[in-house]
Symmetry: C2
Subunit: 211 residues, 2 copies
């Protein structure tokens, strides 16, 4: 399967370079040289640079969103069976945990997670919209679920808090060892699980804050 090899090699390389250098800063010549494929193969297999970006996003984000959707619906169903409102914490876990599970599941997955952590804040509308189109349907479901967990919050307030939560998540996803944190000389640092728990704590406290 030379075709599959070529396509995946391009996708793998693209997701690494897009995550580390950015979409605009990555040229097809750098990309194809590093992937050891011909320059024209990107256009042949994907149709262009922008279509490649979309393919990179879809490859992992669609399955990831499906998992998140399932987990959210599972939390909702359990709440219905109990005839109670779903817990904010459970919904947050359903949305957040799959991302970190995926990040640690494969070597290249970390780059992809970094990429989507930054995509929401991309200055370039091309990249930002390509990501938003894939994530907004899930956002709407997540928002509707949180409405059930926090019925006392006005919708506009919940929406604002959800946006702030996504900003916190974004930070957690793309912040690495090379980041600003190294400028703070902290004696002990947090391991992965502790960081995830801190993030969930933070989001839950912010979402459930008194009005």
């Amino acid at each position: 399967m030379t075709q599959t090899d070529t396509k995946t090699r391009i996708l793998d390389c693209a997701e690494r370079l897009f995550a580390r250098e950015g979409y605009h800063a990555t040229s097809l010549r750098t990309l194809t040289k590093e992937a050891e494929v011909n320059l024209a193969s990107v256009n042949y297999h994907f149709g262009g640079k922008e279509a490649l970006l979309q393919a990179v996003l879809e490859r992992h984000l669609l399955p990831l969103n499906a998992i998140r959707r399932d987990k959210i619906n599972s939390v909702l169903e359990q709440a219905r069976n109990r005839s109670t409102a779903p817990e904010t914490e459970e919904l947050l876990r359903a949305f957040v945990i799959p991302t970190f599970d995926f990040r640690d599941s494969a070597p290249g997955a970390r780059d992809f997670v970094t990429m989507i952590g930054r995509a929401m804040n991309e200055p370039d509308a091309t990249v930002r919209n390509a990501f938003l189109i894939l994530i907004i349907p899930l956002f709407k479901e997540f928002f509707a679920a949180l409405r059930l967990a926090l019925p006392q919050l006005p919708p506009a307030v919940l929406l604002a808090r959800l946006q702030y939560s996504m900003g916190a998540l974004s930070q957690a996803l793309h912040t690495g060892k090379d980041d600003a944190a190294q400028h703070f000389d902290i004696p002990v640092t947090l391991n992965n699980q502790e960081r995830i728990n801190q993030l969930l704590n933070f989001m839950q406290a912010g979402l459930e804050a008194p009005l």
Copy 2:
């Protein structure tokens, strides 16, 4: 003062285009045409595109950071006079409020705030580092002040929560009417002051969350 006119016209245009299209997506030809100056004047007055970016950031971020630093120190001094620990809420206000005050102070200021809201998450290291170098000293002071307000938190936990808070702030700064929010049909939306209060509430609750 033709010189000042040219320099400021370039700076104004650069901050608008960098904020709306991104640094890489903005070409000097687009920029200079829109600013109605000669193409070469960017290199003559600033030395190059990257130096222009730094000048754009410094022009407003240095004064803004000075204000934030003063307000933080003022909160700390008042706490010392009372012989009590500073309040998390007061420190947050000292850090956050000046940014929004600045945003509403001038027509072009909104673009600058959008830009710094995104700069922290920039995929491109050139832009990200140019911003981080200017903001990290203030971050360290802010972190030290928050340590006094939240002495029971391990430093690593506080640092993580501070990063998440900055993610929330970043969202609040660069999120506009054109953003994902428009996909949610919410009956009533929040005005500026309400959004700021919600952000402060969110950050405070997250920072002060029980361990």
